[in-house]
C-alpha cells in the first residue's frame, strides 16, 4: 500500500498556493478598460521614440480612429490573457488524465499481457478526470457568460456581422456547446468510475464475469471516446479560430494527448519505483512505455506535418491565415514544438538500450511534456491573445496551480488502493514480463 508522503503533499500545496497567488495577481493586473490600454500603448510608443512621429500624416481623424481600434483590439487580447493562460494547462492536464484512461482502456480491450502491473498507476492518474473536468467545464461556462472572449463566436455582436459564423450557428451556439461539453465530460467520468470500480472489486478475488464486463466497457468507452474526442477538439480548441477548420484536427489533438499521457504514466511509474514501490515493474515495462512515447511522438509529427503541408501547398487564403498568424507571431514556438515533440524525443529514444534507462526516459519525458504544453499553447493562444502573448506570470502560475492540483489528486488517489492489482487475467504474464 502506498501512502502519500508529506513531502509530496507539501510540494503540491506550495504549487497550488504560488500558482493561485500568481493567477490572482495577473487577473488584477489585466487592463480593465480600453483607456488603460491606450495609456499603456502611448507610454510604450513614447519609450520607442520616433516611431509615432513618422506616423503623423495628413489624415488625423482616420489615424485616431485606427489607434482607437488598435487599442480596443489589444485590450481584448490582454483581457483574455490570464483566462487563456489558465485555459491552456487546465485543458492540457485534464486531457492527459483522459489520455491515460484511454491507454488503460486500450490495455483492457486489447487484453494486453505486459501492462497489468501498471494498472493502478493509470487508475490513479485517471482520477484527475473529476476535478479536471469540473475545472474545464467551469472555464467554458465562464466564457459563455462573456467574462472573456476566448470563443469569439459566443459574442452575438461579432456573429451579427460575420456571415461565416452565421452559417455555423446551428452547431456553434452557446447552449448546445455547453450541453455537448457536459455529455463528453460526464460520459468520460462515468466510464472511468465504472471500469475502475470493477478493477477494485477484482482485488477481492478473480471473477471472470468482471473481467468480461471490463473488456466490454473498455471497448465501448473507446468508441465513445474517439467520437467525443474529435468533437471535443473542434469545440474546445478549433472553434477558437472560428473561420478555420481542419479535417484531421481531432487526430492531431489525439496524438498530443496520447504522447503526453504515456509520458505521464512513465514519469509516475519511475517516481514510484524510485521510492521502492511497484516491486514487479522492471525495465522491460519502462522500455515498452518509452517505445510508446517515441512512437506517438512520431505520430504527432506525422499529423503536424500532414496538416501543415496541405494548407501550405494549396495556399488558400481562408485556410492559410491559421498558419500565417502562427508563423508571424509565434515562429519560435511554432517550430520549437517540432523540435521538442519530435526531433529530440526521437533521437534520444531511438536507441533500444536508452529506453531502459530511467533518467533518459525522464529527460525525454520532460521534453515531451513541455513540447506538448507548447503545442496546446500554439493551438489556443493565437486566436485568443494574438500577438500580445508571452510566457510570464499568468502562464507559469497557471501551470503551477493546475499541476499542483493534478499531483495532489493523483497521489491521493494512488494511496487509496494497493499499487499492484491483486487479480487480473494477465497479471502473472505481466509480472514475468521480460524482453
Amino acid at each position: 500500500m502506498y501512502t502519500m508522503s508529506n513531502k509530496i503533499k507539501l510540494f503540491s500545496l506550495i504549487l497550488i498556493i504560488i500558482g493561485a497567488i500568481g493567477l490572482v495577481v495577473s487577473f488584477i493586473n489585466a487592463p480593465s478598460s480600453v483607456e488603460e490600454v491606450k495609456e499603456m500603448l502611448h507610454a510604450e510608443s513614447a519609450s520607442h521614440g520616433g516611431e509615432s512621429v513618422a506616423m503623423v500624416g495628413d489624415d488625423h481623424a482616420s489615424e485616431d480612429a485606427h489607434a482607437d481600434e488598435h487599442a480596443e483590439h489589444v485590450y481584448h487580447q490582454l483581457h483574455n490573457k490570464p483566462w487563456a493562460a489558465l485555459y491552456v494547462p487546465a485543458l492540457f492536464i485534464f486531457l492527459i488524465s483522459l489520455g491515460v484512461f484511454v491507454f488503460y482502456a486500450l490495455q483492457n480491450a486489447a487484453q494486453a499481457g505486459w501492462s497489468p502491473v501498471l494498472f493502478r498507476v493509470m487508475e490513479g492518474i485517471a482520477s484527475y478526470l473529476v476535478p479536471g473536468g469540473i475545472l474545464v467545464y467551469l472555464l467554458l461556462v465562464l466564457s459563455s457568460l462573456h467574462l472573456n472572449h476566448l470563443f469569439v463566436w459566443m459574442d452575438p455582436e461579432v456573429v451579427a456581422h460575420d456571415e461565416i459564423i452565421q452559417n455555423k450557428t446551428a452547431y456553434l451556439n452557446t447552449p448546445f456547446f455547453l450541453i455537448r461539453a457536459a455529455i463528453y465530460i460526464i460520459g468520460w467520468v462515468l466510464f472511468s468510475k465504472l471500469i475502475i470500480k470493477n478493477s477494485r472489486k477484482m482485488d477481492e478475488g478473480f471473477d471472470l464475469s468482471l473481467h468480461k464486463r471490463n473488456f466490454k466497457l473498455s471497448a465501448g468507452f473507446l468508441v465513445f471516446f474517439i467520437v467525443t474526442e474529435s468533437m471535443m477538439s473542434w469545440d474546445w480548441i478549433m472553434s477558437i479560430d472560428t473561420h478555420w477548420f481542419s479535417t484531421l484536427f481531432g487526430w492531431f489533438v489525439l496524438a498530443s494527448i496520447l504522447v503526453s499521457a504515456v509520458t505521464t504514466i512513465a514519469l509516475v511509474t519511475i517516481y514510484l519505483k524510485g521510492k521502492g514501490y511497484l516491486e514487479y515493474v522492471n525495465n522491460s515495462h519502462i522500455h515498452d512505455l518509452a517505445k510508446f512515447m517515441m512512437g506517438f511522438s512520431i505520430f504527432w509529427a506525422y499529423l503536424w506535418f500532414s496538416q501543415f503541408l496541405l494548407i501550405w501547398y494549396s495556399n488558400i487564403p481562408e485556410e492559410v491565415t491559421y498558419y500565417a498568424a502562427r508563423l508571424q507571431d509565434y515562429p519560435v514556438l511554432f517550430f520549437g514544438t517540432v523540435i521538442l515533440n519530435w526531433a529530440l524525443p526521437m533521437l534520444i529514444l531511438i536507441n533500444s538500450d536508452f529506453k531502459r534507462i530511467n533518467w533518459i526516459v525522464v529527460f525525454a519525458g520532460i521534453i515531451i511534456l513541455v513540447g506538448n504544453y507548447l503545442n496546446f499553447f500554439v493551438m489556443i493562444m493565437p486566436g485568443t491573445v494574438g500577438e500580445s502573448w508571452s510566457i510570464g506570470i499568468p502562464e507559469i502560475s497557471s501551470i503551477l496551480l493546475i499541476s499542483g492540483i493534478f499531483i495532489f489528486t493523483v497521489f491521493n488517489a494512488l494511496a487509496k488502493a494497493p499499487l499492484t492489482v491483486k487479480h487480473s487475467a494477465f497479471l502473472e504474464e505481466s509480472k514475468q514480463y521480460h524482453y
Binding site: 506535418f305 501543415f308 503541408l309 501550405w312 501547398y313 494549396s314 495556399n315 531511438i350 533500444s352 524482453y435
Partner: protein, 175 residues
Amino acid sequence: MASKVLHAIFTDDDILMQAVKALREKKHSIDEVFCPFPVHGLDKAMGLPHTRLAITSFLYGLVGLSVATWMMNFIMIEDWPQNIGGKPSFSYLENMPAFVPIMFEMTVFFAAHLMVITFYMRSKLWPFKEAENPDVRTTDDKFLMEISVNENNVQAIAEVLHENGASEIKLIDNK
C-alpha cells in the same frame, strides 16, 4: 573424435528454448540452431552478441535522407526549376515542405533495402547458394540444434538434450 557434432531435433519452440537454457546453464556452448521461423528471445538465450543491424539501418537512413536532399535540390532547384502551384523553385529551404515526403520515403527506402542487403551479406546468403541447414525438416516444422562435442562431454550433453525433450539425437562427423 575431435570434430564431431550432435544434431538434436526439437518439435516445439518452447521446448527448444528450455533446452537451450538448460545447456547454457551447464556451460555447454551451442554452435547453431536451425529454425523454420524466428524464435523470439532465442539469440539472448544462446548468448549471442546483440545485433548491430539496427545501427547500420540508422546510418543507411541518414544516407537516404542526404541523397533525397541532394536529389531534390538538383532536380527541382538547380537543373530544371518549375513553378508549381504558384511556388517558384528558387530556394531549397523555401520549398522544403514539398520535399519532406520524398525525403521521408528515401530514408525508409535506403534504410530498409540496404539493411536487408547487409543482412544477406552478413549471413552469407546469395543467389544459388547451397543451403547450410543439415536437415531439410528445419524448413518445415522441426528445430535442429548443432553442438560440437568431444569424448569427454558427449554423454553429458546428450543426456541434457534428452532430459529436455529432444525428439532425436544424432552423432555426426563434422565435414
